[in-house]
């Protein structure tokens, strides 16, 4: 009987897994020994890092989307029919349309979502760039901005760990380009006692903040926003005034994970090396939805996906394990509208970012276009 591989989630992680398995299991797919299918929530695939460029007019909405059917290997049946309940005991997934899919191997790739509703007043008072509507609303707010206090507010947990500094430096360049920096004040808030969780990145950012006159308030975990008074208050007891509030909202996993009792907050307990769900031998977890204490980032999803592809293919073809995930993460860091750097690390190698340059910024701009090759499993 055919081995059924079911992938729940059509974002980057799930799509890379599907495409990579098609490559490695092409003979098994052709003979019918294996089937691979995918459930998702949308017929379009979004390049999420591109959302950062929308508020500053550097990318257009149409550049961020491609039909999922064109990104995904044609041998993978894809249904826009969100999973409603994942039953790992009976090895089935029930969907919103009422269908039930059985599997031999499951890959949970359901991602994460922003939850500004988890902070009182945030939805009404805040702007963000973590979804398309938010990015466009922020774009319009920035276009109308004529000077004043901007608070760039960071909450925990969130995906894309370098985005807080990226948006701050891009904002600074944007305001300077419009001649508004003399009439504006940027205050950056961060949940822990330095400007970024990565110590070398935080150390690099300190003189940059001083150079550009960017203020900061560390140890700031948002308690509430007062959209009428235009204030934001922290659990630590600090209140800041703002004219424009740009927030990185707290995130959670998807409702299907909590509804299926697979993980508190929507984060699935996952083994850091095998990427198997804790307690499972046939359920892999990939991307943002793991509970692993590593960056929720596209590169993490990509490197995890590569590991799962190798292991799942090896289990099916050779009944043996291939390799472990070593915790690798690689992130470009835009340090303004014209310069960038990058940082990489894994479980045993600490981060060590290099100095920003125009060349690395150009590599990032190139990757904004090359991303689609990664999603298709070619890069």
């Amino acid at each position: 009987m055919a081995k059924k591989i079911l992938i729940v989630g059509g974002g980057l992680a799930g799509t890379i897994v599907a495409n990579g398995l098609c490559r490695q299991l092409r003979h098994e797919l052709a003979s019918g020994a294996v089937t691979i299918s995918m459930l998702g929530t949308s017929d379009v695939h979004l390049y999420q890092p591109g959302l950062l460029y929308i508020p500053f007019g550097r990318m257009r909405e149409s550049e961020l989307f491609r039909p999922q059917r064109k990104v995904l290997d044609r041998r993978v049946p894809y249904a826009v029919d969100p999973a409603k309940y994942i039953d790992v005991e009976s090895k089935t997934v029930a969907t919103q349309s009422g269908k039930t899919h059985s599997y031999d191997y499951l890959v949970i790739a359901t991602g994460s979502r922003i939850r500004p509703d988890n902070i009182p007043g945030m939805v009404e008072g805040g702007h963000w760039f973590y979804d398309l509507d938010g990015a466009k609303k922020l774009r319009d707010a920035l276009a109308a901005f004529q000077g004043g206090k901007i608070v760039v507010n960071i909450n925990v947990p969130h995906k894309c760990p370098v985005a807080p500094l990226e948006v701050t430096f891009m904002l600074r360049d944007y305001l300077a380009g419009r001649g508004l920096m003399d009439k504006s004040e940027i205050t950056y808030t961060y949940p822990i006692g330095r400007l970024h969780t990565l110590e070398p990145v935080a150390a690099w950012a300190v003189p940059e903040f001083e150079r550009y006159g960017i203020k900061s308030q560390t140890f700031f975990n948002t308690k509430s926003v007062d959209p009428k008074a235009k204030t934001i208050t922290s659990e630590e007891g600090t209140t800041l005034n703002y004219d424009l509030l740009i927030t990185v909202p707290p995130h959670s996993g998807q409702a299907v994970i909590t509804d299926s009792k697979l993980g508190t907050g929507g984060w699935v307990p996952t083994d850091r090396n095998t990427l198997l769900r804790d307690g499972s031998k046939n359920v892999f977890v990939v991307g943002d939805t793991t509970n692993l204490p590593i960056s929720k980032a596209g590169s993490t999803a990509h490197f995890e996906a590569d590991t799962i592809i190798d292991n799942l293919a090896s289990l099916i073809k050779e009944d043996r394990w291939a390799r472990s995930y070593d915790g690798k993460v690689f992130c470009f860091v835009e340090t303004g509208l014209n310069t960038g750097t990058y940082v990489w690390f894994n479980y045993t190698t600490p981060p060590n970012p290099g100095p920003p340059s125009q060349m690395i910024h150009w590599f990032k701009l190139a990757y904004n276009r090359l991303y689609w090759l990664s999603a298709r499993g070619l890069l």
Binding site: V156, E236, P293
Partner: protein
């Protein structure tokens, strides 16, 4: 009080042990405990410093074989 939430943040550079603790405390009830394992010596200072600022309860910090264990009780 439910079972203690355990976070193995050994070798975790990003988000890092304190960010993981802050996220985990949002998901537990008042009175519940979260235990963080960390190989980052700075955590032994950072975590208690933050816990004092927000007035949660530091249950204990112990040095194990190659890592530190920090236990925090959610107080509000």
């Amino acid at each position: 009080m439910t079972e203690r939430t355990k976070i193995d943040a050994r070798g975790a550079y990003c988000p890092g042990p304190l960010m993981e603790l802050i996220a985990a405390l949002k998901l537990v009830q008042i009175g519940d405990e979260v235990e963080v394992w960390s190989t980052d010596k700075g955590s032994v200072k950072d975590i208690p410093e933050w816990v004092a600022k927000v007035r949660h309860e530091l249950v204990g910090v112990t040095q194990e074989n190659g890592y530190w264990s920090v236990v925090v009780r959610k107080a509000k």
